[in-house]
């Protein structure tokens, strides 16, 4: 609240004009609001990326383990074929 405060007018009606200020008021984001929104967006996007990378990494690990098992099975099949 401003430290400068109007004391209401008293007395008879005086000469005056009134202008209605029409038009949509464009509310621009204040700077602090803008930075808040950007900050939240960065955190959210970062979180999503981290999750996705984590899932990709886990999938890669699983694929590697599967590949190892395939190689072991291949080797055993190969050994049996050779012995036959």
């Amino acid at each position: 609240m401003s430290r400068i405060e109007q004391i209401p007018s008293t007395g008879d009606r005086v000469d005056g004009l009134r202008l209605e200020l029409e038009g949509k008021v464009d509310k621009k984001l204040s700077e602090s609001t803008f930075f808040w929104v950007m900050g939240v967006a960065v955190v959210v996007v970062g979180g999503i990326l981290t999750f996705v990378m984590g899932e990709v990494s886990r999938t890669n690990d699983k694929m590697e383990k599967l590949n190892e098992k395939v190689i072991v099975i291949d080797t055993k099949i190969g050994e049996r074929s050779n012995s036959n």
């Binding site: 400068i4 109007q6 007395g11 200020l21």
Partner: protein
């Protein structure tokens, strides 16, 4: 007349440099036309524009304009601009007192109305303006 146009422009510039709250730039033309109509050709002597609480917890801007014959007060908030004109010769007195320990309360009393302002004692622009209004009553700014 050209001086008056310049003074009107100066009043407009002062209004649109206020920033708490700030008046929308898109309203400049409207406000200019409104002030010009309100002044109605009087010779402009002094003016003052400042942010203030207009009453009912509404913040806005107040413009005081001292002409050769009138004191004009314009209240501007986000929805409207309202002017009130008082003849200088109808001023019967200017009352001043200190309130809240550090604010001055000045009330201008006219023959059939009054209005006033509470402002920090340190605000020399406002107190200086009221002194000029006082001087104008004594006829020191007569244009005749």
């Amino acid at each position: 007349m050209h001086d008056n146009e310049q003074n009107l422009q100066k009043i407009l510039d002062d209004i649109f440099t206020l920033d708490s709250p700030r008046i929308q730039e898109s309203r400049k033309q409207q406000i200019y036309a409104f002030i010009k109509t309100t002044v109605n050709g009087d010779c402009l002597r002094e003016h003052l524009a400042f942010n203030a609480n207009l009453g009912n917890k509404k913040d806005g801007a107040i413009v005081y304009i001292l002409t050769n014959v009138r004191f004009i007060k314009i209240d501007i908030d986000e929805n409207e601009a309202k002017s009130a004109s008082y003849l200088l010769k109808s001023i019967t007195g200017i009352e001043r007192k200190i309130v809240d320990g550090d604010r001055e309360q000045t009330v201008i009393v006219f023959q059939s109305a009054s209005f006033g302002l509470k402002y920090p004692v340190s605000d020399e622009k406002i107190s200086g303006f009221f002194q000029k209004v006082d001087q104008s009553r004594a006829g020191e700014c007569s244009d005749v």
